[in-house]
Structures are given as C-alpha cells and as structure tokens.
C-alpha cells in the first residue's frame, strides 16, 4: 500500500473488503447482458408464432453463426468483459485496513479517483453495525459505521463481510490502546 506508511510499532491487524456476494451481485448485470444476444433467435421464433405478420417484415431469422454476428457478439462480449473487469478492480482496490493504531478507509471510486481516509483508533467514539435483509443475514455481511469523537465524522463501509467481528476487533484494539495508556486521556 502506497497511500500510507506504517509508523514504528504499528502492525496491520486486518485488511477487509466487501463480501464476495456483493461483488457477484455487481457482476450480475454484465452476465445478463452477455446472454441477451443469444436469446434473440428464440425471441424471434416466439414473435413469429404470436404475430405471424412479423415474418413478412423480418424475413430472415437472426443467425448467430454468421461472420457478422460473431463479429458483433465478440465485440459486445469484449465490451462487457471490460466492464466486469472494471467492477473487479474497484472491488479489489476498495479496502479497509485496520492497524493497532488507526483505520485506513480506501475507496476506489473509479480510475484516477481514489479516496483515502485515515482515522485514529484513539478518536473512535462509537462503532455500529447494520445487517438487514435476508441475504446479508444468511451470508453474514452488512454495513459498519465508525463515529469519531469531536468532529461528528462518520465513516461507513457497505457490504463488509462479518461486520460484527470487525466491530469487536476494532473495539478490542481500542481497549488495548486504552490499556497501554496511549489514548492520551
């Protein structure tokens, strides 16, 4: 990670990303769009059965084995692949790094747009998790809110796996920091 350097005595406790199911859901539109061209011949045959007049306008059923159809399909799938890879890039580069002194919140919004927020464990006032819905409950992912003291700042990350475990880990690190007397209170 080039965004921040570890201080002396600082160790990375955990790096965490969004749950894999959240990533799969983000990929779903690309998968659906990839299959759309393959459905065109079936849709055409259904349409000619329902409305026979259509066959007088569209005289030939779409043939996906022709060279031009393959050309279009190949480019269409290439376009979708680039979009899906872009989604994976954002998924992978979006990360929370928890050390024994701070939390680094890295958001990759797109290419050339990256936000890195660092907040000290010593300033953490409140950590809240939110797991709502059937899939988040079954697969164990949700949102975590971290509120820091004084500045009314609230950091959140959606779709994190095991938010309760992460909350416990953060609070444990805060307690360790408190016990070691480094909180400055």
């Amino acid at each position: 990670m080039e965004e921040f350097e570890l201080e002396p005595g600082e160790i990375v406790t955990l790096s965490v990303r969004k749950h894999w199911l959240v990533f799969l859901v983000e990929l779903l539109p690309y998968a659906i769009l990839a299959f759309v061209p393959l459905l065109i011949p079936f849709l055409f045959s259904m349409l000619t059965q329902v409305a026979p007049g259509v066959s007088t306008v569209l005289t030939h059923a779409p043939d996906l084995t022709t060279a031009w159809a393959r050309f279009g399909l190949g480019l269409w799938w290439l376009f979708l692949w680039v979009g899906a890879f872009n989604t994976f890039t954002r998924y992978y580069l979006d990360v929370w790094v928890i050390t024994n002194k701070r939390i680094v919140d890295i958001h990759q919004f797109g290419f050339f747009r990256r936000q890195v927020s660092i907040f000290l464990l010593a300033h953490i006032q409140d950590v809240t998790t939110d797991v709502s819905g059937v899939l988040p409950t079954l697969f164990g992912f949700g949102t975590i809110h971290v509120e820091t003291a004084g500045q009314e700042e609230r950091f959140l990350m959606r779709g994190l796996r095991d938010p309760e475990g992460l909350r416990d880990l953060i609070m444990r690190e805060v307690a360790l920091l408190h016990d070691s007397g480094k909180l400055g209170t």
């Binding site: 159809a69 050309f71 190949g74 290439l78 992978y92």
Partner: protein, 86 residues
C-alpha cells in the same frame, strides 16, 4: 392529359448522410477500422487498469494474475469476433 407518368421519375431515392462514402468502403476495410478503434481503446483501458493494479496492490499476489486473465480473456473474445472472416 395522361395522369399516369410514362417516363421514369426524376426523383432520387432518399440519401442518408455519408451513404456514398459508406458504400465505397468494403467490409474488410470496415472491420479493420472498427478493430483498430476497439484495440486502441482497449490498450488505453488496459494500461490504466494495470497502472492502478500495480500501484495500489503491489504487495498482492492477485494483481499480475488478474491482469493476465484480463489480457487472455480479451484476446479470446477478439478471436471470436474475427473468427468468421477469412
């Protein structure tokens, strides 16, 4: 007076913009131009993606395999696109 015209009409059919130029381009040239545009866009995208992967996940073992899969998959889809033309 004869209401039905006996000579061919002098009205030209509707001409779409650039239709003359487009009709002059062969399918081979068209494919070459489209593939060149797609390839340039793909190269720019891949370079930008590689920059981000290598810079921000340099310590990760995922970066290079991810980029390799991207290039391999793109190449395979490109082959599908041109496989019908000889």
């Amino acid at each position: 007076m004869n209401a039905v015209p006996t000579a061919p009409l002098s009205i030209n059919p509707v001409q779409f913009p650039f239709s003359a130029q487009l009709s002059a381009i062969s399918s081979g040239e068209f494919i070459s131009v489209v593939l060149a545009i797609v390839f340039i866009a793909w190269v720019v995208y891949t370079l930008v993606a590689a920059y981000h992967w290598l810079r921000y996940s340099r310590g990760s073992l995922v970066a290079v395999p991810a980029l390799a899969v991207h290039v391999a998959m793109s190449g395979w889809l490109g082959i599908i696109a041109v496989s019908g033309f000889h």
